[in-house]
Amino acid sequence: MDENPSDDPYVCEPLHGSHPRGDGTDRVPPALEDANVLSNEPVADDVWLMRLSAPRTAATARPGQFAHVRLSQERDSVLRVPLSFFAATPSEGTISLLYQVLGASTRLMSQMRRGEACDLIGPIGRGWLDRRAPAATIFEPRRAILVAGGLGVAPLATLAENLAATGCRVDVVVGARTTSRIAARERLETVCPDLSIATDDGSEGYHGLITHLVSERLATHVPEDPYDYCAICGPAPMEVAAAHLVQGTGIYAEVSTERLMACGVGACLSCVVPTTRGLVRSCVEGPVFSVEEVVWDEL
């Protein structure tokens, strides 16, 4: 048996190294935190925004990481809900979650009112650009394209702002079922006034798939000022198509994968993603992976 974890196809230690007992590590370990609902309201069709007070998580969350939220203390609610940080404000001790009402859990979530309690595990996983962090040189993109399908905008909004703050030029391509479904538009427009929009019903922007806009952008981008970074988040089929477009272009591209998650902390292996290193845990190794390491055929 090869004893090098990163060569072992079946178990991958976090690239940051496993954390020795008790003492300092290069990661902020996730913690269980009681949270209180500060506000909870619909922002676009069945897309809601919840603001929570959760100071420890707010202070340590990075874009692309997520919280694993327990909405009900009843024993019939067995699985937590993984939700990306849409925003985190350490100074106020708050985080924001942008979510779509899909099934039982998110329906329950939309019924929560100001003052109600829940608990969450956070911050979890590796966010955008975390994978290159341990390398000797820090990678700072100069020109980025962010691809957000539907609720994929949730983990990308803060990334867009952070990139812009470092002087990176950020293009944002947004896809949605219909114009009223586009959430967080203002935040995105502050960074990228010229949003590229595709809607399924043609109610705004391009009438069709977001990937059409992505390929257009990639085809027409200026060679002397090329994209050096691409971040993708959205429904799986969109991610596959977008990854296909960007692969081989030389652009460093990352994707946030959505998996069903039980533990959310790396213990149960329910969330594995096929990568060149084998099936690895999306919750702690991801949810952000480089497009190159995901084995897209097996996804």
Partner: protein
């Protein structure tokens, strides 16, 4: 709870004795984690003090690495969940060289769950682990319904269950716990067979075979049609089997299936279990194991039970 990053430790009122003996394995309290839900404890070490557990149960170890099944591997069901992880694990060598050293800094007794597709695979793993001093006991999983072992699981046939037990028994004097599947007509028969074959204890129940269908997509919700049901939904089934097996055998039982609270655990002790495992509840609450220990202790204090052993098998029927 609060935004507390300390590793949780149980609250044990003075004068309550929690130590139990599980077939030779000395546990400071009757609580361990259920194999496969807890890794080797590394990740939950962020939330709880692993040394506070009665024992730590590692996930299934096979001779060679197993990849497990494709995604999706889990789905929620009413008060439960289905999984078809498929015993993904890096194999015994990786376990010995990477997991055991990490565990060296803890004192908690270690139960290693052993899996295999054939009798020889179980013995291969046990032979290898016998060379490791960090291992305190074995839990032989003859019951996993997720992996095709050329048909039904070994644990569904008394003779086959006994054969695996006998072969493992011959290799070790460490406490040997055999983990039973609930997917049988008569669990007491299987328990009697493994007792006769030399098991020091039995653990039960493993997951119950179940299925979930996405009506709109007309497909299984999981990558395989049949998966394992766990969580509160199966607690009544687990309690019944623990009770039935406790009437049938003389060796101690490690009970599990849907335990979330200390009171749930007490129910298992009353049904005849000497110790309990907490599985799916860890996903609900990463401190569940500790809360269960505290809950058992509080129950004892409230009810005037000085020694938790007084509860074992105490149900009147």
């Amino acid at each position: 709870m609060s935004s507390d990053v300390r590793r949780a430790v149980p609250v044990i009122p003075a004068g309550v004795e929690l130590a139990v003996d599980l077939g030779g394995l000395k546990m400071r309290n009757p609580v361990t984690d259920a194999s496969g839900t807890f890794g080797c404890g590394e990740e939950y070490g962020d939330f709880i003090d692993l040394d506070a557990l009665g024992a730590l149960t590692a996930k299934g170890v096979s001779p060679a690495p197993w990849t497990g099944n494709a995604a999706p591997r889990i789905c929620e069901t009413p008060s439960g969940m289905l999984n078809c992880i498929g015993l993904q694990n890096p194999g015994m060598e990786y376990f010995c060289t990477h997991k055991l050293p990490w565990l060296a800094s803890y004192g908690v007794p270690l139960i290693v769950n052993v899996v295999g597709h054939a009798l020889s695979e179980y013995t291969t793993v046990i032979e290898r682990l016998e060379r490791e001093t960090r291992v305190d006991a074995y839990e032989v999983n003859i019951s996993c319904p997720n992996v095709d072992a050329g048909g039904m699981a070994m644990g569904t046939d008394p003779a086959c269950a006994a054969a695996v037990t006998r072969a493992c028994r011959a290799l070790t004097s460490r406490p040997l716990i055999v983990k039973l599947t609930p997917n049988v007509t008569n669990v007491a028969d299987i328990a009697r067979a493994v007792e006769a074959a030399g098991a020091d204890a039995v653990s039960l129940i493993n997951t119950v075979q179940g299925m979930a269908i996405d009506a709109h997509r007309r497909r299984s919700r999981l990558s395989r049609p049949v998966a394992g049901l766990s969580g509160p939904a199966i607690k009544p089934i687990a309690l019944r089997m623990v009770w039935q097996v406790s009437k049938a055998v003389g060796i101690p039982l490690l009970g599990m299936g849907g335990i979330v609270t200390g009171e749930d655990a007490v129910e298992f002790l009353l049904a005849g279990a000497t110790a309990v495992s907490v599985g799916t509840a860890n996903f609900m609450n990463p401190r569940a194991t500790i809360d269960v220990i505290s809950g058992i202790a509080a129950f004892c204090a409230d009810e005037g039970v000085r020694d938790v052993n007084e509860l074992i098998g105490g149900v009147q029927c």
